[in-house]
Amino acid sequence: MMNNLCVLPVVIPMATGVLLMLTQARPALSRAIAISGNILSLGVALALVETVRADGIQVLAFGNWPAPFGIVFTVDMLSALMVAVTMVVSTATLLFASVSLDDLHKKNFFYPLFQFLLMGVNGAFLTGDLFNLFVWFEVLLVSSYGLMALGSQAYQLQETFKYLVINALSSALFLIGVALIYGATGTLNMADLVFKFPALADSGMAGVIAVIFLVVFGIKGALFPLYVWLPRAYYGPPTVISGLFGGLLTKVGVYALFRTVTLFFAPGSTFVLPLLSFVAGATMLLGVLGALSQWDFKRILSYHIVSQIGYMIMGLAIYTPLALAGGIFYIIHHILVKTSLFLVAGAVEKRYGTTNLRALGGAADGSPLLATLFMFAGLALAGAPPLSGFVAKFMLLRSGLEAANHLVVAVSLVVSFLTLYSMMKIYRYAFWRQEAENAIVVQGEPVRTFAIAALVTLSLVLGLGGAILLPYVEIAAAQLLDPVAWGTVVLEARVR
């Protein structure tokens, strides 16, 4: 069904971003505009979720060129949920950033870059065209280069350079994959590819294309063995920006994997799912082992991003309705919780001037509310009830046992314990141990704590009330497992 609502999550951040470039010199005004723009997009995203639940998949063909010829935006439940959770965490991050970044950042295009990043992320979630997906990736990456280098510390510059080079390399591979798909099938529309891609299965071309795209999205999503760039790159920028990146950016790669694997790579392939299953286990285990060896709040959290991505890919690799639903639940839970953990790190850094665990200590005395919020978010990350991580992990483990994939289940249980240990280590060294030192900056702390509390509360709501989100992720999983129905809806969408 055609619906103009589909394009608004891209148009609103774009318009807000352009407007914000004009109000560059006035941080207070910029902040008001940015937050209202975000809240508007959040409303649209929630409306999209409800529309998809009530009326099914929504499509918008630009210029009214029907699907295989023009570019389409396609919104199924997965896209709508991803856009909604993106807007939730970005609003909290924006609120936090407005009281934690200094004027140097705010007057150097922080707000516009933030909005353009959101535009790219939402566009990647919504598009139904493979080349258009490449373009949205570039939009979000170019904004992220800007945000990552903002402040121009020597460390930031060198890490941004490496981050840019590795992403440019993966974009080049992406284009090679696009060229191969277009040369072999004559189309780049995802819905059209659902019907034309299976014809390649005999020629061996399907395998080549699948591997290229797995590598591309593996780099973007930080999967084993392509995650090495992430922990160093995310250490450089201000913590609030790392938080947004850690919550959102790798998840765009994971989303692209969910989309492309379910649409064309998994059906008719014998090697994609076993490969993903191995990659999932290795990503979890090596990510968490990396985290254990670190002594810095932010670096530990960065390695946990890698580790947690393994769980999402585990849901994709098991490939049953419950497993996919669990994987999607996990993505949503992870975006909320990981961002809130990074924001706690940012609040601690703001207050005590460092994120080095050896130098910190006693933060629980100085800011008990922050310590409580960290405890909840850390337990959610490890998967303890009654928080959202428990529901997500329960679904994944159960589906893994039902599918008799015991090795991945065993690895994921071990990794959960190691995650808990790692969170305890942070709590012990940063929040307990010694007398609290004097706080350096306390200005703006209520707003920072509010932003974190909002995200942690959502995690608690999704944990205690898992049944609220469950019907939505089940719809999303059912839609993913029926690509032919998805493709038919997209190809037949017309203006009445």
Partner: protein, 113 residues
């Protein structure tokens, strides 16, 4: 025709990857430029090479060339241009702050423990 273009693509990408593995910032940038040009040529080849009329409605009924790869390349060139400009700026800024364009010298004090 196809073989010739594919050979050029292979040479470009090989040289690009070789330069990308160098430790000098500027060579990395040049390597990425070569790489993206090789990829653009590959995109061109994906539409099928060979003689054909311009794809204008009502002009010529014989075989026409596929215009889509050209539109894709145009987009890719523009994006590549922007990214290369940004990369050069970053390379210059880190040269100014570290006074070296050797990646070996860019470890920094905040290295992993």
């Amino acid at each position: 025709m196809h073989l010739a273009v594919l050979t050029v693509v292979a040479v470009f990408i090989t040289c690009g990857v070789y330069l990308l593995l160098d430790r000098t910032l500027l060579r990395v940038v040049i390597g990425l430029g070569l790489l993206s040009n090789g990829v653009n040529l590959a995109l061109l080849a994906s539409g099928g090479l060979g003689p054909g009329a311009a794809p204008i409605l009502g002009h010529g009924s014989a075989a026409i060339v596929d215009p889509l790869p050209q539109a894709l390349i145009l987009t890719a060139i523009v994006i590549g241009f922007g990214v290369t400009a940004l990369l050069l700026t970053l390379a210059f800024a880190s040269y100014q702050s570290q006074l070296s364009d050797d990646l070996e010298d860019l470890h920094g004090r905040l290295d992993d423990e």
